[in-house]
């Protein structure tokens, strides 16, 4: 039973945490050393990711002239150089703000749509009996291996014929379509781990399939749903290739920034803050949902 499993898990976890708190320093250091290689690897990775990110942040705070002459590390020594001027400038730049708005629309709509469709389909694959269910599911899994790139040209043609080209809707639909195989797979595998008794009990208590879905499956599936939402949000927020292919005037932030890079010279004072913005927003989203996200990753492995 799930509830008892959770309780048992807690019963095991609690004494261990308590022991750790009262542990002498030597023991903690000892364990850190024992896990040394892993910790070092993690530290190296963290530095590798953090340094450029920090560099980007500092660059975005420098006046354009200072960037080219001095490099971002000088700000550390001369904090007075920093200015919000670049950020003020990009928020005044209508190309950037409208691109940001486009990105938000694409990322939010496609994530919501994907989560809704994938969880409905996942429930059906996990708990409804219908003919050909298993074969259909095999089909879904097979779609996991289709690379996005092979679909760009044919779908480009379809979009031109149907008028979806260069629309937010077109981009949203494309992202949902390519997110679905993984989304359905994830949801189905999570839902199938929910004990059958619970659903049968609800059915006897008088719940329709829809009620079971909304009152039991969705709340119990929250960790998986949050994971999927975050994956999809990050993926589509950072997408460049799909947006480049299917948009001309419908430009998300990634495309807008991309079009600012030039071969000679640069308008780094625009690119740096825009890039940092584009990076910070999903980071905030991630941190907000992180709690569910981690649970979601563990959910499958415990049971």
């Amino acid at each position: 039973m799930e509830a008892s499993g959770q309780a048992a898990g807690q019963a095991v976890a609690l004494p261990r945490e308590r022991a750790r708190a009262g542990e002498p320093w030597a023991a903690r250091v000892g364990r850190a050393v024992a896990r040394g290689p892993l910790n070092i690897l993690l530290a190296v990775l963290a530095v590798m990711w953090l340094v450029p990110t920090l560099g980007l942040l500092l660059t975005s705070l420098l006046p354009a002239t200072a960037i080219t002459q001095q490099g971002w590390w000088n700000v550390v020594a001369h904090p007075s150089l920093a200015t919000w001027e670049n950020y003020r400038a990009i928020f005044a730049n209508s190309a950037i703000t409208s691109a940001l708005w486009t990105t938000v629309q694409i990322a939010v709509f496609n994530t919501v749509l994907l989560v809704v469709v994938a969880s409905l389909a996942g429930y059906a694959f996990a708990w409804l009996d219908f003919r050909g269910r298993d074969w259909l599911f095999v089909g879904v899994i097979a779609l996991l291996v289709v690379p996005l790139q092979v679909a760009l040209i044919p779908i480009f043609t379809i979009y031109q014929d149907t008028g979806l080209f260069d629309t937010v809707l077109g981009l949203v639909l494309f992202h949902v379509a390519f997110g679905l195989p993984f989304g359905i797979f994830l949801m189905r595998n999570f839902f199938i781990g929910i004990p059958r008794d619970i659903m049968e009990s609800a059915r006897i208590d008088g719940a329709s399939e829809w009620r079971i879905f909304t009152r039991l499956i969705l709340p119990l599936g929250l960790p998986a749903i949050a994971s999927l939402a975050i994956f999809q949000f990050l993926w589509t927020w950072n997408d460049l290739i799909v947006a480049l292919t299917f948009g001309r005037n419908t430009q998300p932030l990634t495309v807008a920034i991309f079009s600012q890079t030039r071969q000679f010279g640069s308008n780094i004072e625009l690119i740096a803050p825009a890039s940092f913005l584009s990076l910070a927003i999903p980071l905030v989203v991630f941190l907000a949902f992180q709690r569910f996200f981690v649970q979601g990753l563990l959910a499958g492995s415990v049971k």
Binding site: A7, I198, I204, D205, S208, R215, L216
Partner: protein, 413 residues
């Protein structure tokens, strides 16, 4: 409140497993019927068909006046308590109990009244706000009960609801459920493995074997007049001792049962109760002796010589109120398919059931429930007195009990 009636109901799973065969059973209004049987005999399947969780392959199932074969679970007006309790982990105790009522759109204050009433009856009041994971096993069990009783359904279905509790709680909840059921007067079908539950809780007990209903009767009748060797061996703990015997005419002064080299004189009352036995003179049959019908002969000096058996004591378990003695007797064991199945289900039922089953083996393990004053000792021979009014006899071919003078000695219960 309603009658639940199985009319030749069968269940064949898609893989071809015939889990329930042509089951006929009518559970009366307000009656408490317990379904028992060895693992895999189809108890859960039968219950799930009543709940509507399993399609009925053949036959008709009635709840009240309705044939419900094609009625979905939510419209059957039944409540079920699962072995796993199946509580909704994200809802508080209160919401768990209220769940069914909310779905039925019962008015809020009525829900509140009923939930509090149920919580009061089940001693759950202090925990209404807790989540199931923060409850003990016994409390979870009671939440599951609460969820069933607030619904005020036509019937309760319970599938081994107490099997996850420890022994003490189980005894307490057993009484609790029996009390609740009789107070509420709701028709109940209760599945269990535990024969004490079966014997103490049910108005009637239905014994199943391999998907076939063997006997449905009040507990005492099941114990006194098992229809066949399977029921005889299944009901009772420790289980009935089953020996291969031969009925002989003792020169007109009555019948004797020969067990190996030894013989027991049958009581006249026994012959009156089982007239069909006379037809078995000179034939092999299966004799069943319940452990409680064996007594330490040393404590019953007036027990006549022809009502005693010599045994070799192997193990003595003193339980305080009684002494369980495992011994060997020089007589062949009874071996039929039904008996093998009993042995499989219960694991090691007797001290050494394995070697007893070999062909030609002339020794059988038997178990006796003796008085705590008994002084029999392990590794020594002892004499046990047998209450020969209480012996059981079965046809070795069919396994059927030998009672009245009907064809094949079959009894009309």
């Amino acid at each position: 409140m309603a009658v639940v009636a199985f009319d030749a109901v069968s269940k064949v799973y898609p893989d071809g497993t015939r889990a329930v065969s042509s089951m006929d059973l009518e559970v009366g209004d307000q009656e408490f019927v317990v379904l028992v049987g060895p693992s895999g005999c189809g108890k859960t399947t039968a219950l799930r068909m009543v709940a509507g969780l399993e399609q009925i392959s053949e036959g008709r199932l009635r709840i009240g006046e309705r044939v419900v074969n094609d009625v979905p679970p939510r419209d059957r007006d039944i409540a079920m308590v699962f072995q796993s309790y199946a509580l909704y982990p994200h809802l508080s105790v209160y919401e768990n109990i209220a769940f069914g009522l909310r779905l039925k759109k019962v008015p809020k204050d009525e829900i509140d009244r009923r939930v509090r009433q149920a919580a009061h009856v089940l001693d759950l009041e202090p925990w209404l706000k807790r989540k199931p994971r923060n409850l003990s096993g016994g409390q979870r069990q009671r939440v599951a009960m609460g969820r069933a009783i607030v619904r005020e359904p036509a019937a309760f279905l319970m599938d081994e609801p107490l099997s996850n509790l420890d022994a003490k709680l189980r005894v307490a909840m057993r009484a609790e459920i029996a009390r609740l059921q009789s107070e509420l007067g709701v028709t109940t079908i209760y599945v269990t493995h535990d024969q004490v539950e079966a014997m103490t809780m049910g108005d009637r007990v239905a014994v199943m074997r391999r998907g076939v209903l063997q006997q449905v009767a009040p507990p005492q009748e099941l114990y006194d007049r098992p229809v066949n060797v399977f029921v005889g061996g299944f009901i009772g703990s420790p289980a009935m001792n089953l020996l291969q015997g031969r009925l002989e005419d003792a020169n007109g002064s009555g019948l004797t049962l020969r067990l190996g080299e030894q013989a027991l004189a049958l009581d006249r009352a026994l012959l009156d109760a089982r007239p069909a036995l006379r037809g078995w003179v000179g034939r092999e049959l299966i004799a069943g002796i319940r452990p409680e019908d064996l007594h330490d002969a040393a404590l019953e000096r007036d027990a006549p010589q022809d009502r005693r058996l010599r045994v070799d004591v192997q193990l003595r378990e003193a339980l305080g109120s009684e002494v369980i003695v495992h011994a060997r007797i020089a007589a062949p064991p009874a071996a039929t398919e039904q008996i093998e199945e009993l042995t499989e289900d219960l694991g090691v039922r007797t001290l050494d059931a394995g070697s007893g089953g070999e062909a030609g083996a002339a020794e059988t393990a038997i178990v006796g429930r003796l008085s705590p004053h008994s002084s029999v000792r392990e590794g020594e021979a002892a004499e046990v007195a047998v209450d020969t009014r209480q012996l059981h006899f079965f046809d070795p071919e069919t396994g059927l009990g030998i009672y009245d003078d009907t064809p094949d000695g079959r009894t009309d219960l």
